[in-house]
């Protein structure tokens, strides 16, 4: 019951903003009252004019309510509708017996409308409206209530209506408030729901992305069959074992993950040696010391690829190059290690074969040369049957060429050593003055034969560096013999030695044919020959500068060249000086 009253009030006053709907009960009640007044003989229409005016005003008020209903926005001006309705009811009452009219009760309907309006002042307006409507018959006759009873009716009735209006106002205020809260909550709930939905969507998206990344990682791991990828925890217990690892070590993932440690697949001797190198005292750590040695570089954050030997379950071994990297969690804390190993058996075999080949070639070429040179010398030294002057001259030609061949073999062997990274240097403290002077002296015969003047500038004080005297001498020899070869008769080759604060610089400058600028950057390539060299038929195979450069680089030095075609070339060989104490 209470609920239905509330809902009615709510429907009429709050929920339904349409003024037309609010006006409907008043209009219907008015119409019924009018019908009763016309049809029932007991109801007497005392003033037909007033009744007519009231009806017209009621129709106008209802039309006005329809107008307001059509407006999109809610306006306070719609309160004109109950106002006019009150006036219409007052006229109806006035026309149907005035103060004695049966239709006073109709007043309640517009009053409810007004009183339900937001704001307490509308309670007052409702009381005044009621009072005005009840007292209307007096006002219409320019009269005042005749007795106290009529006064009371004119004041008390509006007062009661006013109380009712106040209650209605309060109830509708509460209802409005509740509704607003409910609406706010509903809106909030809607917003939350939307947020939740979008979060859920994001989550799903992230999950999908994560799944995709996971699948990608898995397929990459599975696709890598030439390398073994093994993941472990901090103690070396294996938890990742890709097909490459299965292939390389001959065990499926099911037999290693969570069951075996990485160091079980390493050569024990190697791990022990490395542990000793790194000074891991045996038993001093909770970890297997071999494992500590294995992950040393990763633990220190150094990217390192080291050669190890893996031992398969059947006892056979495989040479591998292993890169160890730490695995970190989302807070960047190391939680394990990843070992990526490449089988280098074949690479090692190729390198070994290459070394063997170079050694073999060198041996096979040098052995016949040993015979040639040895027997030529025997002929020269044969005291029993001395050679004629002419024969001796022929002999020196043969000897010179045999020596040339021997040098070439030496150069080839040396370049092969440089290429394979094996470059033996015999380092000691040496005086560059002697090296440079020695190279110039040994080049003098070739210089005078070619008609090229050799000039030497060496400072009086000794310039000492750490290096291989033989190799540096070879570098100087190469530069000087090149300079002589490329300088026409009558030219000069100047060899100088000087020092700066940090470097010793040997310069070999010639007045020769020069090197085209476009060829300068190919100068140190193996077997490269400058176009000026081939054009002028200068002999050589194109190894001298390659070797010279390799020697200089191995000493931590630098080889620079300046050249102008037709003017000359200058090579400068700089070597770092030892730091002064």
């Amino acid at each position: 019951m209470r609920r239905s009253i509330f809902s009615l009030i709510r429907r009429l006053s709050v929920d339904t903003p349409s003024p037309a709907l609010k006006q409907l009960p008043t209009f219907v009640a008015f119409a019924i009252a009018l019908l009763l007044a016309v049809l029932l003989p007991s109801v007497v229409i005392t003033l037909p004019v007033a009744v007519f005016r009231g009806s017209v005003i009621m129709i106008l008020a209802t039309l006005l309510s329809l107008y307001f209903a059509r407006l999109r926005r809610v306006t306070r001006w719609s309160l004109l509708v109950p106002g006019f309705s009150l006036l219409a009811i007052a006229l109806l009452r006035n026309g149907t017996g005035g103060t004695t009219s049966l239709f006073s009760v109709l007043i309640i309907l517009p009053v409810v409308w007004i009183a339900a309006e937001k704001g307490r002042r509308w309670v007052v307006v409702a009381i005044i409206g009621t009072s005005a409507a009840i007292m209307f018959p007096y006002f219409a006759n320019w009269d005042l209530p005749a007795n106290a009873g009529e006064w009371i009716r004119g004041v008390f009735t509006p007062f009661v209506y006013g109380v009712a209006a106040a209650i209605i106002n309060e109830l509708s205020r509460q209802a409005r408030h509740q509704l607003a809260s409910i609406q706010r909550l509903a809106r909030e709930r809607e917003v939350r729901l939307k947020e939740t939905l979008s979060l859920a969507e994001q989550l799903q998206e992230n999950q999908q992305r994560l799944h995709a990344a996971d699948r990608f990682t898995r397929s990459v791991l599975d696709a890598v069959t030439e390398q073994s990828v093994i993941g472990t925890d901090l103690r070396g217990l294996i938890d990742v074992w890709n097909p490459g690892a299965a292939m390389m070590l001959g065990l499926p993932a099911s037999e290693t993950q969570g069951k075996r440690h990485i160091f079980e697949f390493h050569s024990g001797d190697e791990l022990e040696n490395r542990s000793r190198e790194l000074n891991y005292p045996p038993g001093a750590t909770v970890l297997n010391p071999g494992f500590s040695a294995l992950v040393e570089s990763a633990r220190l954050g150094i990217a390192e690829v080291r050669d190890w030997t893996y031992v398969r379950s059947d006892g056979s071994s495989v040479s591998v190059a292993v890169a160890v990297t730490p695995r970190v969690d989302e807070e960047d804390v190391t939680v394990g290690y990843i070992f990526v190993a490449t089988d280098v058996t074949q690479a090692l075999e190729v390198a070994r074969l290459k070394d063997e080949f170079v050694g073999l070639i060198s041996h096979e070429l040098r052995t016949p040369l040993s015979s040639i040179l040895g027997y030529l010398e025997l002929m020269r030294d044969d005291n029993e049957a001395p050679l004629s002057e002419e024969q001796l001259q022929y002999l020196s030609v043969a000897e010179r060429n045999a020596h040339r061949l021997l040098r070439l073999v030496g150069d080839l062997l040396f370049t092969a050593q440089v290429a394979s990274g094996k470059f033996p240097l015999d380092i000691s403290q040496i005086a560059l003055n002697d090296v440079v002077a020695g190279a110039v002296e040994s080049a003098r015969p070739a210089g005078s034969a070619a008609g090229v003047e050799l000039i030497l500038y060496v400072p009086e004080e000794s310039i000492a560096v750490r290096g291989d005297a033989l190799r540096l001498g070879q570098a100087c020899d190469n530069l000087i013999s090149n300079a002589i070869k490329f300088t026409p008769q009558g030219g000069t080759v100047t060899v100088s030695l000087e020092s700066t604060d940090v470097d010793a610089i040997i310069t070999v400058r010639d007045t020769g044919m020069g090197i085209p600028e476009s060829e300068l950057d190919q100068l140190y390539a193996r077997f490269f020959r400058a176009s000026t060299a081939t054009r002028n038929a200068v002999p050589g195979v194109g190894l001298g500068l390659t070797i010279t450069k390799a020697i200089v680089i191995a000493h931590g030095g630098q080889l620079d060249v300046e050249s102008e075609e037709g003017v000359g070339t200058a090579f400068s060989l700089s070597l770092p000086l030892p730091r002064r104490p």
Partner: protein
């Protein structure tokens, strides 16, 4: 006789797989006035010749079929029967590592090929004088 240098001419066994080099060495040996006992063309035969003759000096090529000069050199040094024997290694390898490996294996002298017969002979003559 074993392990002692005879008062007379030092006696020599040479081993090299190249017959021309072997001939060159033998000429140098003879010119230096040493006595050539035997020539071998590989490491294993050289070992047999050494066991047979117990020379004062063995001239061995490093690269030989079968046992290499280095292996033979180590074998001699490990065998008391050859105590006091002089060993010269000849090698076509040029770098210092080859020389170091030869000396480490127990050789008294290391000659790189190509060697000058004149210089080699001079060294052999000096040996004769020292042994006398």
């Amino acid at each position: 006789m074993v392990g002692t240098v005879s008062a007379g001419t030092p006696r020599v066994v040479i081993a090299d797989d190249d017959p021309d080099i072997r001939a060159l060495i033998s000429i140098a040996v003879r010119r230096a006035g040493l006595e050539l006992l035997a020539e071998a063309e590989d490491g294993d035969r050289a070992h047999i010749a050494l066991q047979e003759h117990h020379p004062d000096l063995a001239i061995l090529d490093v690269s030989m079929p079968g046992m290499t000069g280095l292996e033979l050199c180590r074998l001699i040094r490990a065998d008391d029967a050859f105590a006091g024997m002089h060993i010269v290694l000849l090698s076509a390898a040029v770098d210092d590592q080859a020389r170091a490996a030869g000396i480490e294996a127990g050789a008294d002298e290391f000659f790189a090929k190509p060697f000058s017969p004149r210089e080699f002979g001079a060294w052999l003559s000096q040996l004769t004088i020292r042994e006398d």
